[in-house]
Symmetry: C2
Subunit: 200 residues, 2 copies
Amino acid sequence: MSAASPLLAELIGSLRCLPGVGGKTAQRMAFHLLERERERGSKLAEVMREAIQRIGHCRRCRTLSEDSVCAMCMSSNRDKQLLCVVESPADLTSIEQATGYRGQYFVLMGRLSPLDGLGPQELGMDLLIQRLAEGEIKEMILATNPTVEGEATAHYLGKLAQAAGVKASRLAHGVPLGGELEYIDRNTLAHAFGSRLLMD
Amino acid sequence: MSAASPLLAELIGSLRCLPGVGGKTAQRMAFHLLERERERGSKLAEVMREAIQRIGHCRRCRTLSEDSVCAMCMSSNRDKQLLCVVESPADLTSIEQATGYRGQYFVLMGRLSPLDGLGPQELGMDLLIQRLAEGEIKEMILATNPTVEGEATAHYLGKLAQAAGVKASRLAHGVPLGGELEYIDRNTLAHAFGSRLLMD
């Protein structure tokens, strides 16, 4: 095919920058766009160009936003005493969709990972310290991932909160709802067993 | 998230025009592009725009091509006495990659399907009849899919070949290489059994 249309070959190659898209899928996408979805494909190309050009990071919470301060930070409807710290905009979206949380967010855009060159500075900790120093925040909810690096990051954030005299909380660990004990990993089960709660 | 960035929400929505991409995948793609692949993403948007704008169909074989006659039809290295008829450019690519075929192609861009409004005219049969009338082609290889509609199309094409006095051949049916008889569907097995060949 590459012989018949260099431009088509280039489109197939470029589509592979999308996550989870290999050669076969990229080919299927390219044919689909050209044979059936030219209009929506043109629109997608235009939106993609514009989004990459215009979307940056919110000056206040570091999430992805085309405004210098995002709508969520600007909103007067959100509780300014609660700050939930997450690793990524995707985590923010998950919490927004799953919970009734109405406080504010701070997005690290990563987790402490010295081997990858991600230190406190890269994660905007100075901005966070400044936020805490403003004195408005009463509780900082640490919603980093329950991975080794996420836990280390939460530990570090906990120290920051302590230094600023702000209460810090962490998402509860335990057995997921709807799971079967038989299939839950040992560490989680041991943790859930140890942290068992009295029924009321 | 839609509240925080309308442009991001639009990008996620637009990505769903890609085949096999639902809401969750579109979200993952959008975050990936904005957080990690801005450069390749811009390039993709540009190539996509250009491909959709410039790629049309080859005047001679109807495959996708940015030139009015594709490189394969122009090539002097390909046997002009053989014409392989396929349903789509993807099928053409598969045959190019799998076989040593060095003849020419004709791409129907579909299959006879009256219910979908696809008749001989939509599939460029007049162009094909013209090709056969040129007298250069000696054999037409019918490589439409082994589906009901593909078989009906092959049958129709066979009649065209007959009318033009051109030999027509069809891909062989049988058990696929590497398959296990236990798992092969009944019709295929019955066909392969009936068409068994003497070993030499």
